[in-house]
Structures are given as structure tokens and as C-alpha cells.
């Protein structure tokens, strides 16, 4: 996240650096079952940001002292490939990925129903392989499809979107430049079917009015994104059905 000063003009004649209007999402591509080994998986692309997610589980959790007697637990890992960023990232966990692993776990938690899996774990692994802003929300969108495609019982899908402010203009789906040099950026995840917010992070400077406007913009986009997630899952279901028939 950002807020650095720069000579970069983020808005030119009402258009963003990638020619979008403020309220436009980038092109979104979604695909399920991209990691054959996993119980469920997905690949989601927002413009030039690409994230993969794979779900393993429910499976027995070791060592035993980490098990919960009356429910399964959810674990998440968010990671960026060294080549996914312009300045190579050293492999391994850093403070940013530690925090994102936590907040994405909390963002997915309200959606999964793990009471039927005592002592088990459901593991969600997210890998960003190309980053151009909005990586955590892209990863979350992939994770949610992966969980559903793994057949994990869910209260609803999680859809996520970033939003923010550049030169006093409110925008959605920040690209890398906007993330680095904008005045505020915010990550929102929802269970659109329940009207619940499960992730909310912001940094930058926003008035309350701007904040609520942004939140509404993000909500609108999440409603759009969840439809695309559902259509991917429906197609998958159809394929499965065809294969079993």
C-alpha cells in the first residue's frame, strides 16, 4: 500500500493510467480447477494481477495439540512469487505476507462451515504470480472459488475488491501505480449473499463521506464479481455432471 509522492499523473482527462474510467474494473478472468493435486483451486486475473489459490482438506491436522476438538480450523498462506514484482522479492515470509495471511483467513472464516470436521484443517494456499495492485483481493477471489470447488460447506461465496482515491477521485480496482502513488487504498471483501463485510482495510486519508462512497462502490463491484465467480462454478458443476453422466 502506498501514498508516496511522484510526478506520475494518475488521471489524465478523467482516464486512469490504463485508460479506465474511475468506476471501471479491469478485465477479470476466472478459472477453476487449475491445480490438479488440490481438492479445489482457481486462478483469478484482474488486469495484470494474477493469483492462484489451492485448497487442501479437510484433512487431519498435526501436531495434535493444534487440533480443535469440536470443529475444523481454517489456515491460509498468502505468498508472492519472487518474479511477480518489478523489484525481485526475496523468497520466504515477510511481515506483509504474515499480515495478509491473517486478514485473508479472517475474511474467509465467516464463509466456511467447519463444525462437521473436528480435529481437521482446511488449508488455503494463495500464490501471486504477477502483481499489478490489488493482489490480496485477487487472491481472495481465487480462494473463495477454490473453497467452493473443493466442496467445503459454505454460507456463501466471498467476493473482494479494492478501491481508493487518486487526486481526489474515487476509484475501484487499483492497479500498481495507483496503489503506490494514490492517496488512499482500501481492500474490501464481502459475502454478497449475506450483505456482510468480512475484510476491511484502508490506508490513506479519507473523509467519512469518501469512505462511505468508496464502500458502496466496492460493494457494487463485489456483487458483479460474485456473479462471475458463480458462473465459473456453475460451468464446473456442469462439466462434472457431464463427466459423470
Amino acid at each position: 500500500m502506498g501514498g508516496k509522492k511522484s510526478d506520475i499523473e494518475l488521471l489524465k482527462g478523467g482516464k486512469r493510467t490504463d485508460k479506465r474510467k474511475p468506476e471501471d474494473l479491469r478485465e477479470i478472468k476466472m478459472e477453476a480447477n487449475v491445480v490438479p493435486n488440490a481438492d479445489g483451486s482457481a486462478r483469478v486475473q484482474f488486469g495484470n494481477t494474477i493469483a492462484l489459490a489451492a485448497v487442501y482438506g479437510p484433512r487431519a491436522l498435526f501436531p495434535r495439540f493444534m487440533q480443535e476438538a469440536d470443529t475444523g480450523i481454517l489456515r491460509t498462506r498468502y505468498n508472492m512469487a519472487p518474479f511477480s514484482v518489478v523489484d525481485r522479492k526475496a523468497p520466504g515470509t515477510d511481515r506483509r505476507s504474515t499480515e495478509i495471511s491473517k486478514v485473508t483467513r479472517l475474511a474467509l472464516s465467516p464463509s466456511v462451515l467447519l463444525d462437521d470436521f473436528p480435529k481437521a484443517t482446511v488449508d488455503v494456499y494463495m500464490e501471486v504470480i504477477q502483481a499489478d495492485g490489488s493482489t490480496r483481493v485477487t487472491a481472495l477471489n481465487a480462494a473463495s472459488i477454490a473453497l467452493a470447488s473443493a466442496g467445503i460447506p459454505m454460507r456463501g461465496l466471498v467476493a473482494a475488491c479494492s478501491c481508493g482515491k487518486i487526486e481526489d477521485t474515487l476509484i475501484v480496482d487499483l492497479n500498481g501505480l495507483e496503489d503506490n502513488f494514490g492517496n488512499a487504498d482500501m481492500a474490501v471483501a464481502m459475502l454478497p449473499d449475506k450483505d456482510e463485510i468480512s475484510l476491511l482495510q484502508m490506508d490513506g486519508l479519507l473523509t467519512k463521506e469518501e469512505f462511505f462512497k468508496l464502500l458502496n462502490m466496492a460493494k457494487e463491484k463485489c456483487l458483479q464479481i460474485v456473479e462471475q465467480q458463480k458462473s465459473v462454478l456453475k460451468k464446473l458443476y456442469k462439466v462434472d455432471k457431464e463427466m459423470t453422466e
Binding site: 504474515t98 472464516s109 465467516p110 503506490n180 488512499a184 459475502l191 463485510i197 476491511l200 490506508d203 460493494k219
Partner: protein
Amino acid sequence: MKETSYAFDLLQKGKRADDREFEDFRKLELQTGIINTAEGSARVKLGDTEIIAGVKMNVGTPFPDTPNEGILIVNAEFTPLASPDFESGPPSEDAVECARVVDRGIRESHCIEMEKLAIDPEKVWAVFVDIHIINHGGNLIDAAAIAAVAALHNAQIPKYDGEKITRGEYQAKLPVVHKPVTVTVCKLGEKLFVDPTLEEEQIVDSKLSIAFREDDYICALQKQSAGSINFEEIKKFIEVAEKKSKDLRKKIWE
């Protein structure tokens, strides 16, 4: 377990174990300048929670993408002294999150005038804020944010002649110009409340930390805890946080 908790039953009935109102903070004690080895320091007691923040300054190389600005590094240690649940070893997920949320409140509010910390094209001041938990009695992020910002307001820049720092002598106040305050609002059932105790913290449905600047700008937000927040409720969270941040700011700086 949640259902049988005393705090849970009370909160459901609209009461708190320590008889506070839902929008009351516990007693806040703040002392600054308490660590003489630090360039700035503060101790916060918020009920049973006690935190010390210390500011240290070194001369370093600027980051390539901010060549004319100082460097801010915020670190939190959840020492095992402070709670039976804290362990020795590398910082836990919670300690990392705490440090990063406090960091964002400071950074995004432009609390420190970072450009004034440039020394020459190759050297800038690096400001280390170390948050040391002494006792974990709940609501660490709000208390840590107060301690960190108060320590910064207390901090002085050491004497530096271009070659070496003379510790214990100072050339100026650290240029700190804003007063961000973070308030974490908790929800249990339909109830919103602030400044949770350790016991309350374990039973909340959801938590949202919001940092406000003195000019009413929101400068950082972080949803914590596993529960979700209804879309419509957010407004109430923000209102409570704004009001309480003003109260706290008054207590701290007036």
C-alpha cells in the same frame, strides 16, 4: 465456551463486568519521557493493559522510492512476560499485525514530517518505534497506538555532526505535526462497545480498528477477528470510533 462466559452473559444484558458503559474507555494513564536511553518514550496504562513505546533514531540510507524522506520502522514485541498466551521466538501474527496497523496510523496521517528527516542526498534519519507489551489486558492496538504517537511527540533528534551521533544530546524536536488516534470498536450480538478487556475480546463477534486524525480524516482501518460485519452497521462503527477518538485525543493532549 463462549456461551457460558460471564462477560458474555453480562454484555448480552447490556452490562460490563467492570461496570463501564459500552462507550467508556478504562482509566487511561499516560507518562512520557520515561526511558532515558530512548530519544522519545511513553508508557500507557489502559486498565490492566500496560505498554511502553520507545523511539530510537539512527542515520540510514533512504529507500530508493523515497529518496528525500526519512524512514519509519514500527516493531511490536509481545513478550512472554506480558501474557501466558505469548511465546518466545519470532513475532507472532498478532504482533506483526499490531505493528503494521500502528505503523499505518502514523504513516498515513503524515504525523511525522518525513521530508524534514532527510540529511543529505545519501543520508536520512531512520525512526524506530518499538512497542513493548508489559501486560496484556485487552485492546492492545488502541493502547499501542497511543503509546507510539505519544512517544513520537516526546522524541528529539540526537545531535549529529555529519559523521557521528552524540547520544544524550539533541538538536531539535522530532517534527511531529499530527495526532492520529485509533479506536477499536467491538460488536457482540447487536451491541457495540469499545476498549474491550481481555475476557471481552475473546467473545466479540467482530472488531474494527479505525484511526482518525484531529481534522476528522480517517487514516487507517483494519477489521480484526473472524466474524463479519453487516454492511449497514459500518456507519455505527465509524461514528462510535470518531467520537471516542476525539475524547481520547482530548485526554491525551489537553
